[in-house]
């Protein structure tokens, strides 16, 4: 190695070491980029794989009631282990009232946290909505469009209400609406985003009272079951 008078490596003497370091750093950087690309292509969701393996081995039973949220009260953002909620009213909802929660915008969104079994089982799911529409006669028949992860899955119709009785009505006495959600939609992601679309109007707008709050429909409970297991919904729905 070339050295200076003081014994230190000269500039030209240091050059090979510098380039060796640069090459090493480049190699390390490329290794990280290649690793990341490899992980993106080869990595598999370990919880899904674990659930599938366990189910195939019969180690875990598939519960009949896959999902029944315990809180549809105030709007609760997803992911609260402290409140034990597995559903949230994501947007478009008003505060809770006697029946449940009321949609206040045309699009109201509920996010359901899907357990891995809901995505690995392969069966379609049945969404059970315990819901009623705000349907004063002036609004006529009411229509509720339901989309799961952006895919339309149902359109419910609510007849116009009788002005002398309840303002919130459903199409049957049980208030329960069963909606099929194809497995392919549920398998897409760990959250099932339900977009419920219905026009809103306030009693004040309609000249029916002083309440200025826009109203669409009300939801009390929501459940998600495997197809064929949703009979339990009838027992637990109300």
């Amino acid at each position: 190695m070339k050295t200076t008078a003081s014994g230190r490596p000269s500039e030209s003497g240091r050059r090979p070491a510098r380039f060796a370091l640069l090459a090493g750093l480049l190699g390390l950087g490329l290794f990280q980029v290649a690793s990341f690309a490899y992980f993106l292509s080869e990595s598999r969701d370990f919880l899904l794989a674990q659930a599938a393996t366990s189910m195939a081995a019969g180690e875990i039973a598939v519960p009949g009631e896959v999902f029944l949220p315990r809180c549809l009260g105030p709007q609760v953002p997803c992911g609260t282990r402290t409140t034990g909620c597995f559903a949230c009213l994501r947007s478009g909802w008003g505060g809770p009232f006697r029946f449940g929660v009321m949609s206040q915008r045309r699009d109201a969104v509920i996010a359901l946290m899907l357990p891995v079994t809901a995505r690995t089982d392969g069966r379609d799911l049945i969404l059970v909505l315990d819901a009623a529409a705000y349907a004063p006669p002036a609004l006529g028949k009411r229509h509720l469009k339901v989309a799961a992860n952006g895919t339309p899955v149902a359109e419910l119709e609510f007849p116009a209400g009788d002005p002398r009785t309840a303002r919130f009505i459903s199409d049957d006495e049980s208030f329960l609406h069963r909606i099929a959600v194809p497995h392919a939609i549920a398998a897409e992601r760990s959250i099932l985003l339900l977009t419920l679309q219905m026009a809103v109007a306030s009693p004040r707008q309609l000249g029916l009272g002083s309440d200025p709050r826009p109203m669409g429909f009300a939801v009390r409970k929501v459940g998600l079951y495997f197809e064929g297991d949703d009979a339990t919904a009838a027992a637990t729905g109300r």
Binding site: L22, L28, Q32, L47, G79, R81
Partner: protein
């Protein structure tokens, strides 16, 4: 030069913190040995006060606090059980029966590894080793933060104020608990200090370890890259062949994260097992930060609003770093906050995450150094907030103390 060493804002050049004059460097260098007294004092006083508050809370509510075991029990709660599970049984892909989708892959490995080593060497319980590691790391972190503040040209008094704020910060009791926060602060301080002092390999090793301590560890990259461009003209900064050692910390910083990804991939088939289990078990999915901020601030439950508002307050404090031209430190804080807000569908734990961004206290201390009354007020406010959270922690009222 005497005017400069008076540390009055009116005579300090605008780039004083990032580019102190050689005379200032010399003037502070001989005093560095004095850091032992303030650092140790701050550590002992703050820890004693916090443990005192926790113990009093327990006793006041009919509990006991009369043994070392009680102390360890006080400091090993909530997420500590996840770390201790890793220490005792290693990583496991089996989800928790109490929390579907949750597994200990959500917790990064360097802290539990340090606890395992301490436990093996000293022959003590995992929880006691965890408390020891966390506290030693915090003591060392206080030294390095003090040194860092001095390196930026701050006076010893201001550097002391910075570590007082760090030790008194709300929820800073986690620096003594079986949590990875204190180790994070230590390694972050080591990586930043080494980089500023041009010890590239030391900075690179500390940064690599840092990225395997907590998920935002790799955000050190933003500090390192900004530092590269701030200390050189951009075309010199990009000329890697001239001084390749400047790139060592940048290239090495993600190594810890990649090591954890490789471990996760080889043991579960899922390199991103940490993210997977965070999504399934803790419902943390990425969203736009502003969406999460609005969602948390309009949330009907007060603790969600509290966490998000507190993180915004800390972000506000971090803007002081820009005022004092600590651009690198600010970029690190900004990147960390954006990561926190993007993954916090509910703002839980945001205070704990925010207090680890210790450059904030340097900016704050710099702003308060000539305002002793306000400095006392802020410190007192932090300490009171911290004491209240300590009572909640001791009582197991986890919503607000998580």
């Amino acid at each position: 030069m005497a005017a400069v060493t008076r540390y009055e804002s009116s005579v300090i050049p605008a780039d004083f913190m990032t580019n102190p004059t050689p005379a200032v460097r010399e003037s502070v260098a001989p005093r560095q040995f004095h850091s032992t007294v303030p650092v140790v004092a701050v550590f002992i006083v703050s820890r004693l006060l916090l443990v005192g508050v926790g113990a009093s809370t327990l006793v006041w509510n009919g509990g006991h606090f009369d043994s070392f075991g009680e102390l360890v029990s006080l400091l090993a709660r909530y997420d500590a059980y996840w770390y201790l599970g890793i220490v005792e049984h290693g990583y496991s892909a089996i989800e928790s029966p109490d929390q579907l989708g949750a597994s200990n892959f959500a917790f990064f490995p360097v802290f539990p590894l340090a606890v395992v080593a301490t436990k093996a060497v000293l022959g003590i319980s995992g929880a006691a080793a965890g408390v020891l590691v966390a506290n030693l790391a915090f003591l060392a972190a206080l030294f390095l933060v003090f040194r860092y503040a001095m390196c930026l040209g701050l006076s010893p008094a201001t550097a002391t104020l910075a570590i007082v704020l760090l030790a008194a910060a709300p929820q800073s009791f986690v620096f003594s608990a079986v949590y990875s926060e204190s180790l994070f602060v230590l390694l972050l301080a080591a990586a930043m200090l080494a980089l500023r002092q041009k010890w590239s390999w030391t900075s690179g090793v500390a940064a690599a370890l840092l990225s395997a301590v907590r998920p935002n560890g790799f955000m050190f990259l933003f500090f390192a890259i900004t530092h590269l461009f701030c200390s050189d003209r951009w075309y010199d900064a990009l000329a890697g062949w001239r001084r390749p050692e400047r790139f060592i910390p940048i290239v090495m910083a993600p190594l810890g994260l990649f090591a954890f990804w490789w471990f996760s991939y080889l043991s579960t088939g899922d390199a991103f097992a940490s993210m997977t289990t965070n999504r399934e078990g803790w419902y943390k999915t990425l969203d736009w930060p502003w969406s999460n901020i609005i969602l948390a601030l309009t949330h009907p439950e007060h603790h969600s609003r509290y966490f998000m508002a507190a993180s915004l307050v800390f972000f506000g404090f971090s803007l002081l770093l820009l005022k004092y031209r600590c651009v690198e430190e600010f970029c690190f804080c900004l990147a960390s906050f954006l990561l926190f807000w993007s993954s916090a569908t509910i703002g839980i734990s945001l205070v704990r995450f925010s207090i680890t961004l210790w450059p904030i206290y340097i900016g704050l201390a710099r702003a308060l150094e000539t305002r002793p009354g306000m400095a006392a007020g802020v410190t007192g406010g932090f300490a009171s907030w911290n004491a209240y959270l300590m009572t909640q922690w001791a009582l197991g009222a986890g919503n607000i103390a998580l």
